[in-house]
């Protein structure tokens, strides 16, 4: 059982304050959605939790099972159980998926899985209809938007993080790929107890990825938290009602 606590998180990029005190707690097996309009700070939140360079945390805390993650290097946050499914996965020419995941598993002390990584990859690829031929491609190079997101989902499935942040999983995805990826995430919450923090614009994704809690992020603050019905309110009324909250 793992818990990620984001407490009073303030963060800036350059001179610009983006997050103005975000509070959010998510535990294993749960799906939470963070929804918000453009510029609300959704991507900043995911970048800061993972420790991406270029963001300054000016106040607050990010605790994973009580351990402070701020100041911990990105790779150690990942090894501790945090994972980021990226909105725009980076192309890394000449670097193979297999090599990266081997190193990643080594860092987690999962040497046994390195030996059967090939089988793991093939099994996981089949589950989300990711063509096996892409397994031998350099990371994200010459992959379509949908293939990149399947690749992200595949990596998450193999690495089995405690808590994953899915940053706009639905952007660039067609309906089939969206369903494949979303279902795999839902399965992981049941099979591996994954806690999934789903960041999205649209409620469409939430038809497949069913959240127990929905948080509305506006101007760097969570202005409303509720059950799944909150997404329906958003779908009906838009963000306007929350903008002055």
């Amino acid at each position: 059982m793992s818990t990620l606590q984001i407490i009073d998180l303030h963060a800036s990029v350059g001179d610009k304050q983006i997050l103005h005190g975000v509070n959010l707690t998510i535990s294993s097996g749960e799906v939470h959605a963070v929804m918000g309009p453009n510029g609300a700070g959704k991507s900043t939140l995911s970048a800061v939790v993972m420790g991406k360079p270029g963001y300054n945390v000016t106040a607050g805390s990010i605790l994973l099972d009580g351990r402070e993650m701020l100041g911990v290097p990105t790779w150690q946050r990942a090894a501790a159980g945090l994972h980021l499914v990226m909105q725009y996965p980076t192309e890394v020419p000449g670097v193979l998926l297999n090599d990266v995941l081997s190193e990643a598993l080594k860092g987690r002390g999962r040497d046994g899985d390195i030996g059967r990584l090939d089988t793991l990859l093939r099994t996981e690829a089949a589950r989300i209809h990711f063509d096996e031929k892409f397994l031998d491609r350099p990371l994200n190079v010459d992959l379509s938007g949908g293939e990149k997101k399947r690749n992200e989902t595949l990596q998450m499935s193999v690495l089995k993080p405690a808590i994953a942040i899915l940053d706009e999983l639905d952007s660039g995805l067609d309906v089939d790929a969206l369903r494949d990826c979303a279902r795999r995430v839902m399965d992981a919450t049941r099979e591996d107890g994954l806690g999934a923090l789903v960041i999205t614009h649209y409620s469409r994704l939430l038809e497949e990825l069913k959240p127990s809690r929905v948080h509305i992020l506006v101007k760097g603050r969570i202005v409303e938290t509720g059950g799944p019905e909150l997404a329906d309110v958003l779908e009906r009324d838009g963000y306007e009602a929350f903008k002055n909250a």
Binding site: P93, V95, D99
Partner: protein
């Protein structure tokens, strides 16, 4: 068996000693180059004191000679040689001091392949420059007759700490429809210098690959010039160079199109770490008659340390409109987003850097003419990375 080429069919009055003596005379008359000349700009030529070296025989071993290839080794001490060899040097001239010195002192290895002959196995030549204060002048002639095919690997090795100077010349002649694949590997020790030239001339529908991997040496410079004289000819020039410590790798390239519908492609990728330096200057030259030609040139450099320095200067000289040309050049550190991506999977930063650098070089390794060498060369690059160690 004399090799019959248009050159050898012509009669010649040259004798073997005359080739050398004439070159030595020309060399003696030439001034020592300086970094003020554009072609030596950025180089460390001012540090070279030729008088501190003595000419010595090149120590070479040759393996992998299989059926179809004729390999002749003529040491500098040979007083006379077969007329067919003399004919290969009919009118031979160097284009600078070092190529003239090479002609004057050369130890020659000639690889000849008769027409319509495919040599299946790569020929591997290893030159060892392990004598302190010695300079050696290996010259490799690859003479591929019509529709023949051959692959030659030339390795340069010396022990760390040995102050030696290697002045090699590659002279590749790719006849009509022939295929020549060459790979030069610089594995010299920490104190050795290399000042070399690669020259190829391709005839109609020929295909020539000149590949270089430079890892060693203190200062190592290769000028590589690929000339296309027959229509439909094609050349590829690729290089991987990786300098660390206080090393400097220095490349000057020429893609010369002197016939219609010729194509050339060049991909040079380098990395520098610590306080190492690298230079790339490249020229695409398209003559007026080379209509319908295409030439591409790409040079990419990674600077892995703040103290490291890389220069990249691409140039075009095009005399006709009917061509397709492009050049691209970059110098910069490893992409931060690539590192973050790998680190966000839980890969430690040193390993992530190593993976990204090896990935960067993969594009060149994949094009080497001897696929079996890619893995060991990749390991040598990994071992050399001061970040992340080797594994």
């Amino acid at each position: 068996m004399p090799v019959l080429t248009p050159d050898t069919a012509r009669s010649t009055s040259n004798t073997w000693p005359q080739v050398r003596e004439a070159a030595l005379e020309r060399a003696t008359a030439l001034p020592f180059p300086t970094a003020d000349e554009e072609i030596w700009r950025y180089s460390r030529i001012a540090e070279l004191d030729l008088a501190s070296f003595h000419p010595a025989a090149t120590v070479s071993t040759i393996t992998g000679v299989s059926e179809g290839a004729r390999v002749t080794h003529v040491p500098a001490s040979a007083a006379s040689v077969d007329a067919s060899l003399t004919n290969l040097f009919d009118g031979a001239r160097g284009n600078d001091l070092f190529s003239e010195l090479n002609l004057a002192h050369m130890d020659v290895i000639v690889v000849s392949v008769a027409r319509n002959t495919v040599v299946s196995q790569p020929i591997v030549i290893t030159h060892t420059a392990d004598v302190d204060g010695a300079m050696c002048f290996p010259r490799l002639v690859i003479d591929a007759a019509e529709n023949s095919e051959v692959t030659v690997v030339e390795r340069f090795v010396s022990a760390d700490g040995v102050r030696s100077l290697v002045v090699p010349v590659l002279d590749a002649r790719t006849a009509q429809a022939a295929r020549v694949r060459y790979l030069g590997i610089n594995e010299l020790g920490t104190e050795s210098w290399l000042i070399g030239q690669h020259q190829s001339v391709g005839q109609r529908d020929s295909d020539t690959l000149l590949a270089t991997v430079a890892l060693g040496g203190d200062y190592a410079r290769v000028s590589t010039s690929a000339r296309l004289e027959g229509q439909g000819g094609n050349t590829r020039q690729v290089a991987l160079y990786f300098a660390g410590g206080t090393q400097m790798h220095d490349f000057r390239t020429l893609q010369e199109h002197a016939a219609p519908r010729t194509t050339s492609d060049l991909l040079f990728k380098g990395a520098v770490q610590d306080t190492a330096k690298s230079v790339y200057t490249g020229l695409i030259k398209i003559h007026k008659n080379a209509k319908g030609s295409a030439a591409f040139q790409t040079n990419r450099n990674l600077t892995l340390s703040h103290g490291a320095w890389a220069e990249s200067v691409p140039n075009l000289d095009i005399e006709t409109n009917d061509v397709k040309c492009s050049h691209a050049s970059t110098v910069g550190p490893i992409d931060e987003d690539q590192l973050f991506y790998l680190e966000s999977r839980g890969v430690n930063p040193d390993v992530a850097q190593r993976l990204v650098v090896l990935g960067f070089f993969d594009e060149v390794l994949a094009q080497l003419p001897v696929g079996d060498l890619a893995a060991p060369l990749r390991r040598q690059v990994a071992a050399k990375l001061s970040i992340g160690g080797a594994s």
